[in-house]
């Protein structure tokens, strides 16, 4: 908790006792209020989004001193900015004077930040530079060194292979401990570059959802939905392929769409793996991405850089979504991340960012882009069906005919080893695991 909000936080009576919070999550179901109650959303912003490591951005987005990216952590406006020493800072996008948002652009470059209201200026690390006509502060106790007059730094910032995360809380475990086995997914994505480096390409693809942020997150490793929710696009694609003239080339988009219609058995076989703090991933050696055609030149560039054995090892890992609770999901095999930005109890912004594997043929990026348009775009034939089902839940969970949301599929049939618990792919395991973490965060370990 930051210094200057402690006063308010201690004065505000919590809407839920820890006992009441713990009662919202049972072993095999959760209470609908976790999706519906604005008071719980406020508590989540404080106790989950104010504590956990939240993804901010990638270092390649702020290559040079002065480069900045504007985003949010929970509902806190922040800037990721590289300073003149080359350090990546994450600072609150709030003027230390009257509290105005200093930077409105989503990204850009600056030598200094200047509040457009009264002209206070700030260094790239957020520290106050100057206040105009400063004689007005003579003979007052105004102290330019006092952090309250700066654009304050968030409590903790760490980066792993260029992926920058921040925590608003001064206390807590380090980023690597927080990430656990999900680090391997980030490693895998970066190691798919012949130069072992990735960079963000261009602007993001935003998609505004009329649902609670957790619905999006639960869907990431919900393998019970693709063959139902995305059946139509599979059927439509098969119909188009069937009508192709004999010998005509099958469009490259087909290999991306088809696996979404895979069977229950296929997804069960992939398996879902979960770990502490709500993280999870599907697949391993196989996934919905493992049957993609080889892009000419890519294998050669990888073998030249890393050798055949290492290349086969890297490309032999094909996880589906690796979900790093609560803010981030990554597809290592497709070089895409999606970032969760909760807006209100029933409003969530999802941003998709795309990565270039440095040193790989540009066609690899083209496939990343094609995948995202076909699957993640608000105008795709996949995302809108998910969107609609989230909106339907958000709407009908208000029904007083029932209070609980079921999560018991395949319960009791998990296997645990070395901190990772695994179950058949269409299990609700990843959701149950997310709510264990939710409960821990929300009750602050004091239930």
């Amino acid at each position: 908790m930051r210094q200057n909000s402690t006063l308010i936080a201690t004065q505000r009576a919590p809407a839920y006792s820890n006992t009441a919070l713990a009662a919202l999550v049972e072993e095999n179901r959760v209470h609908r209020d976790v999706y519906l109650d604005p008071a719980l959303f406020e508590l989540e912003m404080e106790r989950i989004w104010g504590k956990a490591w939240i993804y901010v951005g990638h270092e390649s987005q702020v290559k040079n001193p002065g480069d900045y990216l504007s985003t949010t952590i929970g509902r806190e406006p922040v800037l990721m900015v590289r300073d003149n020493r080359g350090e990546v800072n994450v600072i609150y996008n709030r003027c230390g004077h009257k509290g105005a948002k200093v930077v409105a652009k989503p990204c850009g470059s600056a030598t200094m930040f200047r509040c457009p209201y009264h002209g206070w200026t700030f260094h790239l690390d957020g520290k106050l530079n100057a206040t105009p006509h400063k004689c007005g502060y003579d003979d007052t106790d105004f102290d330019p060194e006092d952090p309250q007059f700066s654009m304050q730094k968030v409590a903790r910032v760490e980066s792993y292979r260029g992926f920058v995360f921040a925590s608003l809380s001064a206390q807590g475990e380090d980023l690597k401990t927080f990430m656990g086995a999900t680090l391997e997914t980030i490693d895998n994505m970066v190691d798919r570059s012949p130069q072992s480096e990735v960079e963000v390409v261009g602007t993001c693809l935003p998609y505004f959802h009329d649902c609670n942020w957790k619905m999006f997150f639960e869907n990431l490793n919900d393998a019970q939905h693709p063959m139902v929710c995305h059946a139509s696009v599979g059927v439509a694609t098969r119909r188009v392929v069937k009508q192709l003239p004999q010998g005509a080339a099958v469009p490259k988009e087909v290999e991306i769409i088809y696996p979404f219609g895979s069977s229950y058995e296929f997804f069960d076989e992939l398996g879902v793996s979960v770990m502490a703090r709500g993280h999870s991933f599907m697949g391993g050696r196989q996934s919905i991405h493992s049957a993609y055609a080889e892009i000419p030149g890519y294998m050669d560039s990888m073998i030249a850089a890393h050798g055949r054995e290492r290349t086969e090892q890297v490309l032999g890992s094909n996880r589906h979504n690796t979900a790093i609770y609560p803010s981030f999901t990554i597809k290592d095999a497709v070089q895409i991340i999606r970032v969760v930005r909760p807006v209100a109890v029933d409003k969530t912004l999802i941003q998709t960012w795309h990565f270039r594997l440095k040193g790989a043929p540009e066609e690899m990026l083209h496939r990343t882009i094609t995948y995202s348009r076909l699957i993640n775009s608000p105008a795709s034939m996949v995302g809108p069906d998910d969107w609609d089902c989230y909106a339907r839940m958000q709407e009908s969970l208000h029904s007083d005919s029932a209070e609980w949301v079921d999560m018991r599929r395949y319960i009791g049939r998990e296997q645990s080893e070395g901190g990772i618990t695994r179950a058949s792919g269409t299990s609700d395991l990843s959701m149950r695991n997310q709510y264990r973490a939710w409960s821990d965060y929300m009750t602050q370990g004091q239930q």
């Binding site: 959802h209 929710c229 469009p251 809108p384 069906d385 609609d388």
Partner: protein, 170 residues
């Protein structure tokens, strides 16, 4: 754009703007009536529909777009449109387009192929009513019975806004 504007002033008189306008009206009329099969038949075999996500976006391949679809994906979309298995398709999609300020950007006097820009407003009713506005840039191929679309580029003025689902071509 400087070069094409020059072509416009030099050769603008030789293009049949009225015929081009009729073609554009027909195209958006097919969208307004959700007749995606007939609509996609207006495109050349290698024709594309492009809605960039960034203003002045140059590259549809190496940068994400909201939409960039070839005839194969258009065919999938036509087959998926209104599909009984799609949750998103259980709601009506109704659209009303207005096109104006049609102007010729470039004309190949020998083939009759041309690039045409127009302004549009499209009111889309899907779950809620939404307004899209911007410019169309049509690359048109002259054929015996009129025109075929090589590319329709749709620059909505809020291309980089946080959009909800967009269920059809605009």
């Amino acid at each position: 754009m400087t070069a094409t504007t020059a072509v416009n002033s030099a050769a603008g008189n030789t293009a049949d703007i009225a015929a081009i306008e009729r073609f554009l009206y027909r195209e958006t009329d097919l969208l307004d009536s959700n007749d995606l099969d007939s609509w996609m038949a207006l495109f050349t075999e290698d024709g594309t529909y492009w809605m960039p996500v960034a203003p002045d976006q140059q590259d549809p391949h190496g940068h994400i777009s909201i939409l960039f679809e070839n005839r194969a994906v258009m065919a999938v979309r036509a087959a998926n449109f209104g599909h009984r298995l799609a949750a998103s398709m259980e709601y009506p999609v109704r659209c009303s387009h207005l096109i104006g300020n049609v102007r010729l950007l470039a004309l190949d006097a020998s083939s009759g192929d041309c690039t045409v820009r127009s302004n549009f407003q499209a009111v889309l009713y899907y779950r809620e009513q939404r307004l899209f506005a911007g410019t169309y840039t049509h690359k048109l191929q002259r054929v015996a019975d009129g025109y075929r679309i090589e590319q329709k580029r749709v620059d909505i003025i809020n291309c980089d806004a946080n959009h909800k689902s967009i269920l059809t071509y605009i």
